[in-house]
Amino acid sequence: MKVVIIDDEPLARMLVKEYLQDYPQVKIVEECGDGFEGIKAIQKHQPSLIFLDIQMPKITGFEMLELVENAPAVIFTTAFDEYAIKAFETHAIDYLLKPFNKERFDKAMQKYLSQNAAQAKAETQLLINSVAPNIAEQRVVVKDGIKIKIIPLPQIQYLEAADDYVKIYTADGVFLKKKTMQFFENTLPALQFVRIHRSYIVSLPLINKIEHNEKDSYLLLLTTGATLPVSKSGYAKLKEILGL
């Protein structure tokens, strides 16, 4: 059974390694100090379980999970005792609040070992879809080829639906993120973004003007020069927010 430990503190990794000595079936294939290394290690080894810290350099553990294809089962190890924990209770295999003892660690391992692999992976996917820690951080993390890009929310101009993905338009270019429009509509701050169409979410400060198109449809002109369609319900929302 392949395991990857991802934590920016060497001693924290050492502790997990020590606790894992009692599990002869476990093979620690790699230890990583940040999320970038984590993504590479997961792609390379395809582990069945990872131990993941949340607060790490550059990107958080959550953001890393979002960027991993075919994410493995996760046990979080964190000193966070905050809101984010709520999401773990339902979908992560388990979370270990630092500092944790051997008994607590064994309990988490038992929970993982009692689940079958497919079930564990499905839970991870549910977790990724249900929480939006990156929004809480006021940014969105995307993959740009093999590079990883962090987009602060104020840099987002608008979002466009594209099959299984959402296109994120910024001054630096267009980026793809595997999420639904519904997800962004629910998690982006309502004072900053509004969904104007089934396929579009726009940044409010960039709105230049609204033009009547035909019948019940309108067009939205952005200060960047882009023109976006506005649906009937989208127009109603805009009217309310902008106080027209």
Binding site: E9, P10, A12, E18, P57
Partner: protein, 344 residues
């Protein structure tokens, strides 16, 4: 609104006693002067009651409007007007009551200016007492408000401090100790000692105490040692301070939140090794402290730089020196620097 002095039983009693004495004195003097008891008592009662009433009115009026800058003229004009009223109303009442006593009426006419003078004196005194009284009450209330505000502030700060200290630093440090206990118990014990020393010196330091830069740096070293154990080779801290600067005074715990910020900012914004530089320099008549850390201009969040630590340092320096220009931040290339000036 401030309560009038008549709300205190003590003042009211003294006020009544004062006017009884004056009433008795005036009546006796008139009786000695050859007037009948009836005339003496009527005269004394009318004038003293009217003047007492005037005094009460002044105290009552000042309750609603306390004269400010132009208080002297206002008080004088008010006292003169009231005194004239007292004299003429008194004269009218007494003439109506005692119109048959010709010697008394003549005396009344002749002595009006003196009665006016006495009334003016009394009213003036009462006005002064009122001004002092209401001023004192106002000051007391302002004092109370300030005390409440101060208590609130302390409480907020404590909550903020608790929130800041708790999750990352303390629990991660304990986790590191837990990791070391098995294989390197000596190191674990050393870190427990460092953590205890650090916590103790944090708790014992009071906000308004001044320490030498050298003491502050000793405290900072405790903190840095712990962070170095946690982050291993990734964290490098260099401290430069000249001999003169080390002997200069500064408010306690100013540097630590800035270094905390720098570490958080630096370590979580890059994946490389991070060098935090802390510099202390003695200049003309101030101590200049600089804390700098690397950051990534591409991804740095503007709000990250304005964290709790920086704001609390700004506020504390403002409270101590009443200056807003002592903390500055600057960014060059990929180095973020916070500069703090401590006037000596």
């Amino acid at each position: 609104m401030a309560q009038s002095p008549f709300f205190t039983a003590k003042f009211t009693k003294a006020f009544i006693a004062w006017w009884m004495v004056w009433f008795a004195m005036q009546a006796i003097i008139l009786y000695w002067g050859g007037f009948s008891w009836r005339v003496s008592i009527a005269d004394s009662a009318v004038f003293n009651i009217l003047t007492a009433l005037g005094c009460w009115m002044i105290a009552f009026m000042f309750q609603y409007y306390l004269p400010g800058q132009e208080r002297f003229w206002y008080i004088l004009a008010l006292s003169v007007a009231l005194s004239l009223c007292i004299v003429f109303i008194g004269k009218w009442i007494l003439i109506t009551l005692l119109k048959n006593d010709i010697t008394y009426i003549a005396m009344l006419q002749n002595w009006l200016p003196i009665r006016f003078g006495i009334a003016l004196l009394m009213l003036g005194c009462m006005a002064m007492i009122s001004v002092v009284w209401y001023g004192f009450i106002d000051q007391q209330e302002a004092e109370e408000r300030r005390a409440v505000a101060e208590a609130l502030k302390k409480e907020t700060e404590l909550i903020a401090l608790r929130r800041q200290l708790q999750p990352h630093f303390l629990f991660n440090s304990l986790n590191s100790i837990s990791a070391m206990v098995g294989t390197m118990p000596g190191e674990a014990r050393k870190m427990i000692q460092q953590l205890s020393d650090f916590l103790r010196s944090t708790i014992h330091k009071e906000d308004d105490r001044f320490v030498l830069l050298s003491e502050e740096l000793t405290h900072l070293q405790l903190y840095l040692d712990i962070e170095k154990v946690r982050f291993g080779h990734r964290l490098i801290a260099t401290i430069n301070a000249d001999e003169l600067a080390l002997q200069q005074k500064m408010p306690a715990l100013i540097l630590q939140p800035l270094v905390e910020n720098a570490i958080k900012f630096g370590l979580y914004d890059t994946t490389d090794a991070v060098t935090i530089t802390i510099t202390g320099m003695a200049e003309n008549n101030h101590l200049m402290l600089k804390v700098s850390n690397p950051f990534d201009p591409q991804t740095a969040m503007p709000q990250k730089g304005e964290g709790f630590g920086l704001n609390s340092v700004k506020r504390r320096l403002y409270l101590l020196f009443a200056r807003n220009d002592l903390v500055e931040t600057s960014m060059t290339d990929n180095i973020f620097t916070t500069t703090v000036i401590i006037p000596q």
